[in-house]
Symmetry: C2
Subunit: 415 residues, 2 copies
């Protein structure tokens, strides 16, 4: 029997799922919508093809389960079904399709597993429709805040009403909490959404941690002035201060391993050609897989901002508006994934994930790990998002090996 | 007989004129409006008090004339009657009031002049109502473009219709051109609109030149990217490039005498907290009393922008969108004003004017000079604009001396 072309099959399956979308460019599939329903029907069919028993939990998570020996714990895999508006055909949903194909591959090879496997398709990771996200994994981890059910989408529909309209019983969510003893781990496959793997010429990468994030809101206040009547030495130019801070953030991040710093937004007042800017309002975002590195950077750049404001005689209002700690991936899963990718585990590309994923919430329940595929030109959240069949084939192969190695590995060991 | 308090009188006169305004904060007096008409009536009364014969020319310039001996040329003084919206009570109009009071002062002293004097109140210098300005001085210099009469205000009224509705015959403008042999010079008094004189603790300053201005439109194009997924060394951050150019402009202007450089506007795309900016659109304005210095700075900063774009792998679109040469003040008038301010001409504060004035257009007709008064905190174009009676008194005294010195000085000599 010829081995199927798993990469081409993944591409076909994802094309089929991409049609479960609102009209318009790319894929738009929001939670608890007719497009979500259509995707669940297609996914149910695929899960059944992979030999899984399919159910939908109260949080809207579609679960395909392959039972193991009686009482055996389960290895969980998957990702989210939803997309951003006018997003791509891979983000999230590829992480559901690839483990299904890995299970099919194992079944064709006659492999029988000593534990259960579940492949999960969470309803909402992107948080596009409601101002909350990660409901599915939080329900499993027991960290879901039931108050979020009262949040509304832009049409005024509450999350609760949307879920009930979808046939779910959100009141049952607290009962979804899993017993950690029955969960071996969470392995999520996702496109990198960045250029690192493509630049390195490798199809797969192993995530070491999901970066922590902190954001600062910064206002520098100087004195708006006529650009013709105020000499340079009497100016209090808010933009010049903002420019110094922007370059200081860049310098620090370039010089510090595992640190990203971004000034993404900057607005000036009055903001006209012939006026010295009197006010600059800017954002600073810092990400790192190490909370220590991130927090040290936040402290250092706050100090730099104070120095810049002082020597330029500017007012400074700087506050940390958001902070989320990093999620380290479990060393034993990093090792298993590395071995699956390169046989001996040497030379596997390791990298942090700068973006948040379902794994961030699953980490409250069990050890987590992530496998990244490369993507074309680092493009994501865009109709041009693309992962090659070859890279997906490599991922399916690696996932199949991980599942087999999990078989051989002592459960929950730090190996 | 007690000498009148000329500064207090100036304050009274300006308060009377400030009431010729649209309702609202500060002064709003646009050309060819009922407020303009009201101001002309008040000014006519003041000119007559100063012993002048009053007329209104076809460009809407109110002219108060004191004849000299038959065939003698005239010294022209004055400024503009109009304000910006919600502007102050001094900008422009003070330059009409102070020479009138200087002439009253000379008359009370029994001085008779061997030349004619005209005090002019131009209709429109600010260019707020119509997208043109300086019509009055351009008419006198013969440089007015009659096509401007077809420009419209925001209500769709043409300049021609507005002037006709004001009782003027704009078709007569070409006949206003003066014979340069009959014009001795133009002396304009204006508040500084900047902080230099106040910082120096002096009430009066002599303008050496009206700065030339050039403006550049700059677009830096990098690659918008997720702030979490693109490592620092792979970023093409348009804001970081804009920040470098902003600081380069500031550095150059700080290090170069007689140079001002301002980045007043900067917009980013996408301009959100978690995205590396892919595009920065910014302005650069350069001013100098020396065209050579200004043009060298434009060339150098264009070169710097190219270097920044190259080393950051950014696209650069930079073009000079506007350029206006400097107007040097006539050395003989600078000398006369310096002597009038300090008796021996030593120690008078000299400074360039960063803003444009009626004198810029009058320079096409005759030698020009400007006397600046200090103003509180450099504030102008704002209801809080303020010049003290003491400073105005100093200016009246200086103007009276200049008029007397002109009496003694050989006409048109470079002294």
């Amino acid at each position: 029997m010829t081995e199927p072309d798993w990469g081409a099959m993944a591409q076909d399956w994802l094309a089929r799922l991409a049609r479960c979308s609102e009209p318009g460019p790319g894929v738009t599939r929001l939670p608890f919508t007719p497009e979500h329903r259509a995707a669940l029907e297609v996914l149910t069919d695929m899960m059944q093809q992979a030999g899984l028993r399919v159910s939908l939990d109260a949080a809207g998570t579609l679960i395909g389960r392959l039972d193991g020996p009686r009482g055996a714990p389960a290895l969980l895999m998957g990702s989210h079904q939803d997309s951003v508006r006018e997003g791509g055909a891979y983000d999230g949903i590829m992480g559901v399709v690839l483990p299904l194909l890995a299970l099919m591959k194992l079944r064709e090879g006659g492999v029988r597993l000593p534990f259960a496997i579940e492949v999960l398709a969470f309803a909402d990771e992107e948080g596009v429709r409601f101002p909350t996200a990660l409901m599915g994994p939080r329900a499993l981890a027991g960290s879901f805040d039931m108050a979020a059910l009262e949040l509304r989408d832009r049409d005024g529909v509450t999350l609760r009403a949307a879920m009930e309209g979808f046939g779910l019983a959100p009141g049952e969510i607290p009962r979804l909490k899993r017993d950690p003893a029955q969960v071996m781990g969470w392995i999520e496959t996702h496109l990198e959404q960045g250029p690192v793997l493509q630049q390195a010429g490798t199809s797969l990468g192993i995530v070491t941690a999901i970066c922590g994030i902190e954001r600062h809101s910064i206002t520098l206040t100087g004195q708006a002035a006529h650009g013709g009547t105020v000499p340079m030495h009497l100016r209090r130019d808010a933009l010049a201060g903002a420019a110094e801070l922007t370059l200081a953030a860049e310098d620090l991040a370039r010089a510090t391993p595992d640190l990203l710093a971004t000034v993404g937004a900057l607005q000036l007042r009055p903001g006209v050609v012939n006026a010295v800017p009197g006010e600059a309002v800017m954002t600073l975002e810092i990400r790192s897989p190490s909370d220590r590195v991130r927090e040290a950077a936040g402290t250092e750049l706050t100090q730099r901002a104070r120095e810049i404001a002082q020597h330029r005689n500017l007012g400074l209002d700087m506050s940390r508006s958001y902070a989320q700690p990093a999620t380290p991936c479990a060393p034993e899963i990093v090792t298993l994934l590395s071995q699956a990718v390169t046989e001996d585990g040497q030379g596997a590309m390791h990298l942090p994930s700068g973006a948040t994923h379902d794994a961030s919430a699953m980490a409250d329940l069990c050890p987590v790990g992530m496998l990244f595929t490369d993507c074309r030109d680092g493009i994501s959240h865009h109709p041009d998002e693309y992962v090659s069949p070859r890279s997906m084939s490599d991922a399916i192969e690696a996932l199949a090996r991980v599942i087999r190695h999990y078989d051989e590995a002592p459960l929950h060991s730090a190996d």
